[in-house]
């Protein structure tokens, strides 16, 4: 297989010396055997299958209907068992701490009184919902489904870029990708011991049923409707779980309960897996112009007669400014050191950080703290001076609403390009899906998103991004386990310096961390974040999988050194 891994980024498949990493050897041999032409031919079959099955996301203003398939690259991304167990442990730890944080914030707020996180940051978050203060959701579970975005830096260390705690999307593509891959390239799986993923729907249903206020409760999936960009996913999950897919107009509240309208009259609903944002859930409690929600739902929820997954108000914990404190939450609630590091983050809220941000804007990526869908971002190295000046004006006005991060060089993965008929390196990230309840269940792997447009570093689907099947192997021989682990885990010294910086977040910040090169990605909360359909239409072209446009490598200088 002809491929140049380069030396600038961490390559998932090849080592710096050009050797295939051990856990990729089976796939490499398979591709050699099949030949690139045949490999490419089968990929067309795969595209046609996705198209006929309607595995699509919604695009507006397109003559060929309003739906497109999500581009797919058939070279799988492989994670060795040892590396996965590290990720898994890190995610479990993180999700436990986040749920503890939400429980705390919406009751006694001990963490704020102890001064670990500034209360101002929490209470000023746009996603903090005082309407649910004092409400303990069934089972104490706030974040039933979490999609955490992970990236790997130039050294191969996994970093958390973002926690999606509202209604993360994309899991249906993960499942569809695997199904299509096994159908079209069965031989690739032979002897590889790839861990299965299709148990997700069963696990999700069990997780939802577990929080029902009454035994054998009725579970439904609440969708904004078929014009939502993630409608395929909503329908797919409902179908796979065997539960009803409902819209707001199918539900109503009466006598302190939630009901759905059926041909036989009303039927009580106990658990709502909602793919609609808080804002649109109940016009009586939140946005009054919402026609997507159910009037009176919040009152039933407060009475504990219906479970809503994810719970209302979880967005406060994925606020990008609050994100910076997740490592501190882990220490505070679990008394453990974080297994997965954050990407270094400067908070506009902090005057020292702000000063640094303003001085080094050209080298940083700025994001609005409550934003999703790629709005409110500034990619310093790609921006003109006017753009930067205009943006910084906003930052000065409302510093709390902004954060900045150095640009991180995402790892790359060989990807087949049809026009050249060769494999080239493309940047990738990883979104594992975590089910949190009595236990924490993580489907092995996650959705790997890949920047397919040549030279582009944007993994976002609206910007020519696509996805890959993601394999987690059952076991590793010791050789690759060792090698993989060395890269995947935080280097000892770096971990320390990070935690120091984190705990001194009032201090001068991160300059020692800001080796800038490459790209940073940011991801919002899924197309499932609800918009009314009209609003959506404007939005959708930007928000296919609900991520921000993600930004690339500009080989920027290291900003920290320039202050």
């Amino acid at each position: 297989m002809k491929y140049d891994p380069g030396t600038r980024f961490f390559d998932e498949m090849f080592r710096g010396d050009g050797q295939v990493r051990p856990h990729y050897q089976g796939v490499e041999a398979y591709i050699q055997r099949l030949g690139t032409a045949e490999f490419e031919r089968r990929r067309h079959q795969l595209d046609a299958a996705f198209r006929n099955q309607g595995i699509t996301f919604t695009v507006y203003g397109d003559a060929m209907g309003t739906e497109r398939t999500f581009p797919f690259d058939p070279v799988p991304r492989i994670i060795p068992a040892g590396e996965w167990s590290h990720i898994e442990a890190g995610l479990k730890q993180r999700v436990k701490a986040l749920n503890a944080f939400l429980t705390d914030i919406y009751s006694g707020a001990q963490i704020l009184m102890d001064g670990v996180i500034p209360s101002e940051l929490v209470f000023t978050s746009a996603h903090f919902r005082r309407e649910v203060h004092g409400v303990t959701p069934p089972g104490g579970v706030f974040i039933h489904v979490v999609g955490t975005d992970l990236i790997r830096n130039e050294q191969g260390e996994y970093l958390v870029l973002e926690d999606n705690l509202r209604s993360p999307s994309g899991v249906s593509y993960l499942l569809a990708n695997r199904q299509a891959m096994t159908r079209i390239y069965p031989g690739m799986f032979e002897g590889q011991r790839v861990r299965p993923v299709q148990q997700y729907a069963t696990a999700l249903l069990a997780n939802l049923q577990a929080v029902s206020p009454k035994p054998n409760g009725t579970v439904v999936v609440l969708t904004p409707g078929m014009y939502n960009s993630a409608y395929f996913e909503h329908a797919f999950l409902a179908q796979q779980m065997g539960v009803e897919l409902v819209e707001g107009r199918d539900l109503f509240v009466d006598a302190g309960r939630v009901w759905m309208r059926t041909t036989g009259g009303r039927r009580q609903v106990d658990v709502i897996y909602r793919r609609i944002d808080d804002d649109f859930l109940d016009p009586l409690a939140f946005r009054r112009d919402s026609s997507l929600g159910v009037a009176g739902l919040m009152e039933v929820y407060r009475q504990g007669r219906v479970a809503i997954a994810n719970a209302v108000g979880t967005g406060v914990a994925d606020d990008k400014a609050v994100y910076a404190y997740v490592p501190d939450m882990i220490r505070y609630y679990l008394n453990e050191e974080p297994l997965l590091n954050n990407v270094p983050t400067y908070l506009g809220w902090n005057p020292d950080h702000l000063e640094f941000m303003l001085a080094n804007a050209a080298d940083l990526v700025f994001k609005g703290v409550g934003e999703a869908g790629g709005y409110g971002m500034l990619i310093g190295p790609a921006a003109t001076q006017e753009d930067i000046n205009a943006y910084l004006k906003k930052v000065r006005l409302e510093p709390r609403e902004f954060i900045a991060q150095p640009v991180v060089g995402l790892s790359r993965h060989p990807t087949l390009y049809a026009d050249s008929g060769t494999f080239e390196g493309s940047h990738i990230d990883l979104r594992p899906y975590v089910l949190f309840g009595q236990d924490v269940t993580i489907v092995p792997g996650g959705l790997t998103r890949v920047a397919l447009t040549r030279g582009s570093l944007v993994v976002n689907s609206s910007q020519g991004g696509g996805s890959k099947d993601t394999w987690v192997l059952e076991d590793d021989d010791t050789a690759h386990a060792q090698e993989a682990l060395r890269a995947a885990r935080p280097p000892q010294s770096q971990s320390q310096s990070q935690s120091q910086s984190q705990s001194q977040s009032q201090g001068s910040g991160w300059q020692s961390q800001s080796q800038v090169q490459g790209m940073l990605s940011s991801s919002g909360d899924g197309p499932a974040r609800s918009y009314q359909q009209e609003l959506e239409k404007e939005q959708l072209s930007h928000d296919q999988l609900g991520e921000a446009p993600e930004t690339g490598t500009w080989g920027a200088e290291q900003p920290g050194e320039n202050r």
Partner: protein, 321 residues
């Protein structure tokens, strides 16, 4: 097994739209090929067919003239025409999309494939003489769809709603096709038959088209053993007990489907069953002269009764609370 009202409505309408796509495809195909050999004026040839779907006004507005090309484009691909084949398929697919979690994936895929293949056509189909293939593909899409439903869809309430929509559409279509033929100015002596052999040949050809438009030509031949006389054809399409596209057969099966829905909510909506049973009774006991001569019930009355059943279904099951 519960069924959301919205989904019941989707199922009912997908049944109607798929059936409509199939009917329009069949009628268009038959008429197009008949028009090639037609001795009459082209616009008169197309007028009865256009009368089924809202008349020629909108077509003239859009194309400026009524000829074979504009008529076929309007009836086949034009998404501006709400009852064109493409529109029916697109609407069926829209309803199927709302049902993705409910219907078997194979059913969804067949609708989706037809939509992708047939709803983005333009006039080039005509340029490459592809209308026949287009109509066959549309007809087969519907047949394939109902075939998969027959083989894989659980026989719960949802099935009965799908079936109700299909049968109601079919009954409606059969009556309209007959009515359009009988109203046609070319048929002044429909019941007797003109003496002029040329006129008789033309008339016969038109009635053959009516039969073929319902896929009834072969069945009629086997059942009737007589020539193509208008009374015989009308009687067959209205009353035949065994032909699955006759009005009587459609009405009886519509009643059965509605009775099955009623099983799930016994006695909740007695009016629907009464209306639908009344329609069946009339068709079981009426004679062809009652309808064509006495006009009791007339074809327009039958049409109204069919649609009264549809309105009752809508009120009872789709528009509650």
């Amino acid at each position: 097994m519960l069924l959301l009202s919205r989904l019941a409505e989707n199922l009912y309408w997908i049944g109607r739209y798929m059936e409509r796509a199939e009917n329009t495809a069949r009628l268009l195909n038959v008429n197009y090929y008949a028009s090639l050999e037609s001795a009459g004026r082209v616009d008169e040839h197309w007028r009865p067919l256009l009368a089924l779907t809202g008349g020629e006004g909108p077509l003239l507005e859009r194309y400026g003239q009524l000829d074979t090309r504009s008529a076929t484009a309007w009836l086949a691909f034009d998404l501006e025409n709400p009852s064109s084949i493409a529109s029916s398929l697109a609407r069926a697919r829209h309803n199927a999309r709302g049902l993705r979690d409910r219907i078997p994936s194979e059913m969804w895929e067949t609708v989706n494939r037809s939509y992708l293949n047939l709803c983005f056509e333009t006039g080039d189909v005509m340029d490459r003489d592809g209308l026949y293939e287009y109509c066959v593909a549309a007809r087969e899409a519907a047949q394939f769809f109902f075939g998969i439903a027959f083989a894989t869809l659980p026989r719960d309430e949802g099935w009965s709603f799908l079936r109700s929509g299909q049968l109601l559409e079919r009954a409606d279509n059969t009556v309209r096709v007959l009515q359009a033929r009988l109203d046609s100015p070319q048929d002044p002596a429909a019941m007797g038959g003109p003496a002029d052999p040329t006129a008789r040949a033309l008339q016969e050809q038109q009635w053959v088209s009516v039969l073929k438009g319902a896929s009834a030509f072969e069945a009629y031949r086997k059942a009737a053993h007589s020539g193509i006389d208008p009374r015989g054809v009308a009687g067959f399409l209205l009353f035949d007990e065994y032909f699955p596209r006759s009005l009587r057969y459609s009405a009886e099966n519509l009643y059965d489907a509605l009775a099955q829905i009623d099983h799930h909510h016994p006695g909740a909506h007695p009016d629907i069953l009464r209306l639908s049973r009344w329609l069946v009774a009339r068709l079981q006991y009426a004679r062809i002269d009652d309808i064509l001569e006495q006009r009791s019930p007339s074809l327009p009355e039958l049409l109204i009764e069919i649609n009264r059943v549809g309105a009752a279904i809508d009120t009872a099951y789709f528009q509650q609370e």
